[in-house]
Symmetry: C2
Subunit: 141 residues, 2 copies
């Protein structure tokens, strides 16, 4: 099991728009060639990012631009925008036996700990903004 690459594709897309956007018109085609996926994948990604208010996309004439400062977009925001994980990260077996003392209580016992683990992961994503990545990019170049 892995969290879908829609997430890393979306981060890549936003960074590409930021970094290459001054020089090029950022069409789905161009972004797709940087990410190395089908342009339709990028168009769908852009729709998600647009719905979240992170980009604007021009139909017809083409090109995506940032609609929000990168410092106000965290990795968590992107993760939410592309809907990597619907609700709970951990899949709980559906119908533990309510007539068994263990089955009856397993949810009460586990739910909090699983939520804690998910929250820890998500907090970690919240601590990084795309502006941080842009700075790191500059220092590599």
């Amino acid at each position: 099991m892995k969290i879908t690459s829609r997430f890393t594709v979306a981060v890549h897309t936003l960074l590409a728009i930021h970094i290459l956007g001054q020089q090029y018109k950022m069409t789905s085609e161009l972004i797709a060639s940087s990410v190395n996926v089908n342009p339709v994948i990028i168009r769908r990604t852009l729709q998600s990012l647009k719905a979240a208010g992170f980009v604007e996309v021009k139909a017809g004439s083409g090109g995506a631009t940032l609609a929000k400062p990168l410092g106000e977009i965290t990795l968590y925001d992107v993760y939410r925008a592309v809907d990597c994980v619907e609700g709970e990260l951990f899949h709980f077996h559906e119908n533990p036996n309510p007539d068994c003392p263990v089955g009856k209580n397993i949810h009460a016992l586990l739910d909090k700990h699983l939520a804690d683990a998910q929250l820890a992961m998500e907090q970690s994503l919240r601590s990084v903004t795309l502006a941080d990545l842009a700075v790191e990019y500059s220092s590599i170049q």
Copy 2:
């Protein structure tokens, strides 16, 4: 995307063996009726837990028993035993374009942050032992 229910099934299984094991012979059939899945699912779970050294399973005569104190088994250990996540939690798009300055560097930029997030989740799982759950169970009863 969700982390497979093999994980919660395995935790349920271990707790059931601990709690019901003094009173009943813990066959795959009995555990399956508590978890409410097919007994074969439990047999496969037990094989994973056995490989990790957490249980012993008697072929023929039947029944599973704990092979390690619950205080020495964390949620993380169970998570590893049933192989929920093979290596990386986040799926990275495979072949970013090395001829693009963004594609060339996206791994260097993101890998550490993704690993941090995964680690945060796993550390959280490490902080809970099955003995903790058993204590919580007692306090509910």
